[in-house]
Subunit: 229 residues, 2 copies
């Protein structure tokens, strides 16, 4: 299967019905809240069994593209993109190349959020970061939960709900990759505490440099391995 | 529905079977290639109808977590995370707040890829960027396709297949948001041509500053609107 294309003949009936319904939704310009025909009507229109239609509709329900309302029946809905991502993000059964890709994706996000942070940070956010760092200094045993608390708070500060949920999903991947590589707590020269200071008194550029130094051990490893596995 | 939680009683049978199968896959530590019990066996074990099991399995097939092999029957598979994302990324029916989130997500990725670019760029990549820029200067009418070609090539240069496919998916969102805002071709002070020069002769930091200047009009708009819609 290359980029989502596969021979027509090898598509299952559910896949074919799914594709037809996608075309139909787009052509009819359906918006969230719009009611859909019933299972029976769709089955008749497509000339397939009701079971196959139910199977295809079930896929759309899982994606949040369709929901069932008590009185109205099925309606088009605003899909839950992060929730769907979550359903498929199963580190245990993902190949190593994909895990590595996601690990790098998270590094890229960390490096890229500086501008949004400086656009939206509030004094209350900075106070909360101080508290997280204070806990961290006291409790050195909970390194991973401290990591999660600190970086999670940064994503929250971007005010971008999708990004925040997205990075939450990437956390287990991060942990999984580090476990695979049997890495101990490696930290860059710039600590969480330093980063908060920069957020308070530094510039966007200072913060970018700081985050770069903070993540340096990860970049060093990428440099070392040169090409991807 | 709050963060994927909903009352047990309101879950459909397909949802309940889906959840049970997820637990089962995790507990049995299934890996890609491992064969699964048949539909009938699963229906008997779960005490539900074969139709409901087929519906739940169909969901896993759509996510790429299960595939059907000609002789072996159903096996666990390496899920296609970007393909799944694609299935749910339907700008027409997504609410504005989510579209805005995805727009920002793409900005963050653009700002964050500098380190990977400098780690993996090759002379052939830079030559290809020169060609793209040359076409761009000649053909001013195809601004959007030039944009796609240039930024798409940057993602390709990261050597990260997941990120490349992910940004491809975000492209229509980018276009959609710009259309909603009725924006004309607004460019920052640093052009694509300038960015290629920096990639050839500058440092990672120069490139970060350059990309920041290139995307400045977008950040200005975010600054202007202050809080999210």
């Amino acid at each position: 299967m290359v980029n989502g294309i596969k021979p027509i003949a090898s598509r299952s009936m559910a896949e074919r019905v799914e594709a037809s319904l996608r075309e139909y939704f787009a052509k009819e310009n359906f918006k969230p809240g719009d009611p859909l025909p019933t299972e029976l009507e769709l089955a008749a229109a497509l000339g397939v069994s009701r079971n196959v239609v139910r199977e295809a509709l079930s896929r759309f329900k899982m994606l949040g593209i369709i929901e069932t309302k008590k009185k109205t029946g099925m309606v088009i809905s605003n899909p839950d993109i992060v929730g769907t991502f979550e359903k498929v993000l199963t580190p245990e059964i993902m190949d190593e190349s994909t895990l590595q890709d996601l690990f790098e994706l998270r590094l890229v996000l960390e490096m890229g959020i500086a501008d949004l942070l400086f656009l939206r940070k509030t004094p209350a956010d900075l106070d909360e970061l101080d508290e997280i760092v204070a806990r961290e200094v006291k409790d050195k045993h909970f390194r991973i939960s401290n990591e999660i608390a600190f970086h999670g708070k940064l994503y929250e500060m971007t005010g971008n709900e999708t990004m925040k949920r997205f990075q939450n999903l990437l956390l287990p991947v991060f942990g999984y990759v580090m476990k695979l590589e049997n890495r101990k707590s490696v930290s860059g020269k710039v600590s969480h505490q330093d980063l908060v200071k920069i957020l308070r008194k530094g510039t966007v550029k200072d913060f970018k440099d700081g985050m770069q130094a903070h993540l340096q051990p990860h970049f060093d490893r990428l440099q070392h391995q040169k090409s991807k596995p």
